[in-house]
């Protein structure tokens, strides 16, 4: 393969393209200057100001409420959806249909949910964002769990039933543990997606409870401050940690 060394050129180009902006952002977050673009010296002052920003703190709390809530509900419902689809309706069409929220443009889903909430007459707020995130999160969990269900052995469940276990006990002791890696992977997926989700939250959130991405959006839009650089660097760190942890966990549970 050494003869094909020039083939790696696009690879390096891609990595440069993908990581250069991120690195610039991280470097700039330690900039002492008041304008977020020109470098004057090293400082951590923006991280300090970040911690004391009430708007960002409230946004962070809102985001965590939505992300944790959406993860719990979407994981339970998505897993049940996948098991139900796998057991009772083995139809490719229905499967594709249940997974549409994962493929459809988020803008279409966002306005659909907004229209739905308006029709039902609920006031918009964190609860509507939570519900909206459960809708798309469920589809992602179901997709991951369905993929795993394709590899599980149904005779394990049958054996459990033959040995006298009831349906509930079989479900909790055989079905769920055998799907655990997929369930954990799905849950982490929903959590990460919900944490960063902007478009759907933007349409379904009320005015007094902005999530963190909405706070960032208004910060970026109306006046750029170096604080955003610091926030961006922190968020990058959080996202990357979760993704790498997710990789480790799925690999660990897969080998069980």
């Amino acid at each position: 393969m050494r003869r094909l060394g020039w083939l790696n050129l696009p690879l390096w180009l891609t990595y440069a393209f993908l990581y250069l902006p991120i690195m610039v952002l991280v470097v700039m977050s330690f900039n002492a200057s008041k304008t977020p673009f020109t470098w004057t010296g090293f400082s951590t002052r923006w991280y300090v100001e970040l911690v004391h920003d009430d708007l960002i703190r409230q946004g962070f709390i809102n985001t965590m409420i939505v992300a944790i809530g959406a993860t719990v509900f979407a994981t339970i419902l998505g897993t049940l959806l996948a098991i139900g689809l796998n057991r009772y309706f083995r139809s490719a069409l229905l499967e594709a249909y249940a997974l549409t929220p994962a493929i459809i443009p988020d803008l279409a889903l966002a306005i659909g949910l907004l229209a739905f909430f308006a029709l039902v007459g609920v006031t918009l707020g964190l609860h509507t964002v939570l519900l909206a995130h459960v809708v798309f999160g469920m589809a992602f969990v179901a997709a991951v769990v369905l993929a795993r269900l394709g590899h599980t052995d149904p005779s394990l469940e049958e054996a459990s039933r033959d040995l006298g276990a009831g349906p509930v006990s079989t479900f909790l002791r055989i079905t769920v543990p055998s799907l655990m890696p997929a369930i954990i992977a799905g849950a982490l997926l929903v959590f990460t997606l919900s944490l960063d989700e902007f478009v759907i939250a933007f349409f379904t959130d009320g005015p007094s409870t902005p999530t963190l991405p909405i706070v960032i959006y208004s910060m970026v839009r109306f006046g750029v401050t170096p604080e955003i650089n610091a926030l961006a660097a922190l968020l990058l760190l959080v996202s990357f940690t979760i993704v790498i942890a997710a990789q480790r966990i799925t690999r660990l549970t897969d080998s069980l």
Partner: protein
């Protein structure tokens, strides 16, 4: 999940309410309105920008995926994780990074000025080019992954056979590798094209409000102009694009797989 989409579908034939919202009066005005020149030009603009983004993603993404597939297997996972990793960070942050990078006082411009390449800082931000770069940055991994999957699944014996039968490297690539990876490549193209069309954040933040795309128009119909039925027509047209493109993709996929004796 279905209910919201059905509501959107039904809104397309209704009249807008006097104070926003929707009145249940049948009309096809929303469809004819979408064909007015102003909106057609927005649609054309979106198609152009999404098209250029997809073409660039293909030019950069295909060779990258190919290069990853040729790596020794222990490096492949690392290479793929490195491609996907930025994708998991906040979308707004990733877009914002380009505002910092391309700004007239930003690092790229100061580098160019200090090197003497240009006399004065260039206007890199707030134009179509910046929008394309932002979209490409956002969706490039969505091109690389499906292409990589289809190259990796390719039977290496097919390429060896072509080489043994006397085909050169270029010929083997054009006649064997490229057609067989076409379905995966098309999936990648759809994954880049459709969200590029519907995106309203990148045009707003990097286009400086000068470049309007369908996504911005839909957002405005729902949040400022309050013409929900018209917004619904626009949104469904984006979804229709997605469905049509997927139909073409699966037809091509069937033709290519149908020509092979093994699955």
């Amino acid at each position: 999940m279905t209910v919201p989409l059905l509501i959107i579908a039904s809104y397309t034939v209704f009249t807008r309410g006097r104070f926003g919202g929707v009145q249940a009066e049948f009309t096809i005005d929303n469809f004819t309105k979408a064909l007015e020149p102003i909106y057609l030009s927005v649609l054309g603009n979106s198609l152009l920008i999404a098209g250029i983004t997809t073409a660039l993603a293909l030019l950069l993404g295909y060779p990258t995926a190919y290069a990853i597939a040729q790596l020794p297997s222990r490096w492949r996972t690392v290479a793929l994780v490195l491609v996907v990793l930025p994708f998991w960070s906040n979308f707004l942050i990733r877009t914002y990074a380009w505002i910092v990078l391309l700004n007239s006082e930003g690092p790229l411009n100061s580098l160019l000025v200090n090197l003497g390449v240009v006399g004065a800082p260039l206007d890199l931000l707030y134009n179509r080019g910046a929008v394309v770069v932002g979209l490409l940055y956002a969706y490039l991994p969505l091109m690389i992954l499906p292409v990589y999957a289809s190259i990796e699944r390719l039977d290496p014996e097919l390429r060896e056979a072509a080489r043994n039968l006397g085909a050169g490297r270029a010929r083997t690539f054009l006649d064997v590798t490229l057609p067989l990876t076409l379905p995966g490549t098309m999936i990648g193209a759809i994954f880049v094209f459709v969200p590029s069309m519907g995106n309203f954040i990148v045009p707003e933040l990097l286009g400086g409000g000068k470049t309007e795309m369908v996504g911005n128009l839909i957002r405005d119909q729902f949040l400022t102009a309050r013409n929900w039925p018209f917004g619904a027509v626009l949104a469904l047209s984006v979804v229709a694009f997605l469905v049509i493109l997927f139909a073409i993709q699966s037809a091509v996929g069937r033709r290519i797989n149908g020509g092979r004796s093994h699955a």
